[in-house]
């Protein structure tokens, strides 16, 4: 694509979240088209790329880091992206996914799937759960945080515009808690 040289390369990633943060991004409605005019969305649940590409300018990450897959993924993303943004409370603080942290994982899985389920599941190619679901900043360096459950669409847009222009976003009047 000829425009690729001038357009920013943006990715969106979904770890252990509910998709609400991605939905809030889509709640920009027609403004999604404006974002698409300025940036190529090169990876994410709404596009079909299978592998996280190299040289991404900005990545929005929804969700906490909960499984070994999540951990591997976020480490790879960190290496391949210039500006890494924690999108929403799950990525920022652990939020809902971290509510399981008081329960040992094996007990959690045995409760859900029956005794001995965890060993069986992991043998069969399902990613192993980490002992704790943690926010992004506990495992990688995060360049910006957008709080909210989910953050309002306007805050997401503002952060995108500022960060892509190399500015530090000021979201003080835009974020909401919970």
């Amino acid at each position: 694509m000829t425009s690729a040289a001038t357009k920013a390369r943006v990715a969106t990633v979904w770890l252990d979240g509910c998709s609400g943060c991605h939905m809030s991004f889509l709640d920009l409605d027609d403004a999604v088209a404006q974002v698409a005019a300025k940036a190529d969305i090169v990876y994410g649940p709404l596009v079909d790329a299978q592998d996280f590409p190299e040289d991404v300018d900005l990545t929005l990450v929804e969700g906490a880091v909960s499984s070994e897959d999540d951990l591997r993924q976020i480490q790879k993303i960190r290496k391949r992206t210039k500006v890494l943004v924690a999108l929403g409370d799950c990525a920022v603080t652990g939020n809902v996914p971290a509510m399981r942290n008081t329960v040992p994982t094996q007990r959690l899985l045995d409760r859900v799937y029956g005794n001995g389920a965890s060993a069986r599941l992991f043998r069969e190619g399902v990613p192993r759960l980490l002992d704790q679901a943690v926010p992004l900043h506990q495992v990688v360096k995060v360049d910006a945080h957008i709080p909210g459950c989910p953050p309002p669409p306007g805050a997401i847009l503002q952060a995108l515009v500022d960060l892509l222009a190399g500015r530090k976003p000021d979201l003080t009047t835009m974020v909401k808690f919970g």
Binding site: S19, A33, P45, L108
Partner: protein, 483 residues
Amino acid sequence: MTKTITIPHVTRIEGHAKISIYLDEHGRVDRTHLHVTQVRGFEKFVEGRPYYEMPGITARICGICPVSHALASAKACEGIMAIRIPKPARMLREVLHLSQFVQSHALSYFYLSAPDLLLGMDEPVASRNIVGLLAKYPDRARDGIELRKFGQQAIAALAGERIHASWVVPGGVNQPLTLEARDSILRGVPAAREILRRAIAGHKASLDRFAEEIANFGATPDLYAGLVDEHGAPGLYDGRIRFVAGGPHVIATGLDPAAYEDFIAEAPQPGTYLKSPFYRPLGFPDGVYRVGPLARLNVIDQLPTEEAGEELAAFRSLCGRMPSSGFHYHYARLIEALYAVERLEHLLTDPAILDRHVRAKAAVNELEAVGCIEAPRGILIHHYKVDDKGAIKWANLIVATGHNSAAMDRAVESVSRRFIDGGNIQEGMLNRVCAVVRAYDPCLSCSTHALGIPDLVVELIPPDKAATSASSGTPPSPRRPSP
């Protein structure tokens, strides 16, 4: 040599899944597997929380259909309180729910699947998405954006926020509807209907092009379940469960969702966090059934609104009385969205909806209750037990996508057999395999919460023994988790 093809991320779906396709030594598809790779454990970590927090917590299971979880949860809470909510509150909740149907179906059809349906399964990866759709079919893409926006704005007009609002509370809703909010929703109705008319006409016209997909997108299990009201119309907010097999043969009707354990059991599946529910009297796997838009249209007798009623008749004359191809989930979704728009208009024009009595109050009066609703993706059940102070002692969630897990697995295999050529693997082939998953519009971040009936032993039963071993004996009662 045998070989495995892996699709590590099924894209344009709600949630995380990967697909393994195992080829035999001749490069032919031997078997396939859909792995759901996220598990969250809501049932466990909510133990000890006050029951009235449950609508807010469980809404966070899914950002696409938070309203369904909030409503199923609130209904279970009202069972705990042993109350019936005021009629205006029920009407308002129904409008909220219908608005969610519109936005969720719009997301599924236009944002997630239209890139396959309009741009084509073999469209290059870089443009096979909503942005590519905007470039090539701007009018259709804008229709999708506008329709989703209509649903989301209606939710915001009612509940104050588009996602994770705290308006639904045990006992009703926490604010009555204002005249302005009502009128703002009603103003959007004609455009939403227009969009759906166009989409349905376009979809019908495209059916011939997808003959191959229709033939191969999985046609089993040929047993469907949905909530139906006393007039044989969909009971989206409230109804009784009906099971219908191809034919149609009504297998059971009028079943009380509160007694779901008597007729639904769950079988854990290998290699996935998803479990497969089945209709207990038929055993596993004969009792495996489908839910969601296609299943709902197959189990009902009528759609009691004008245009959707006509479209249901057209659907049945085009595709048959009991269409079984998974591909028809798309078509069914559009008809349901039209029904939702008409029905919410009908409710909003009833003056009773502006009534200010929208919340009933009570404390804990029952120690166990079930709340059940039709989420956009199918039957959703919340089941709680509390102590006498109202702290959750045990919770079970059976979510829509879980019911469809066997159907999706079989559909993936059917599509793989038809479209995958092990000697010459093209990206478009793999996309067709993903597309069949998209037709079911799974919500996988929801689906792996299913706890099921814990006493059911984790084992795979050969099909010839299934009926006897799964249906004999009395249904086990849920047991307390080990401390």
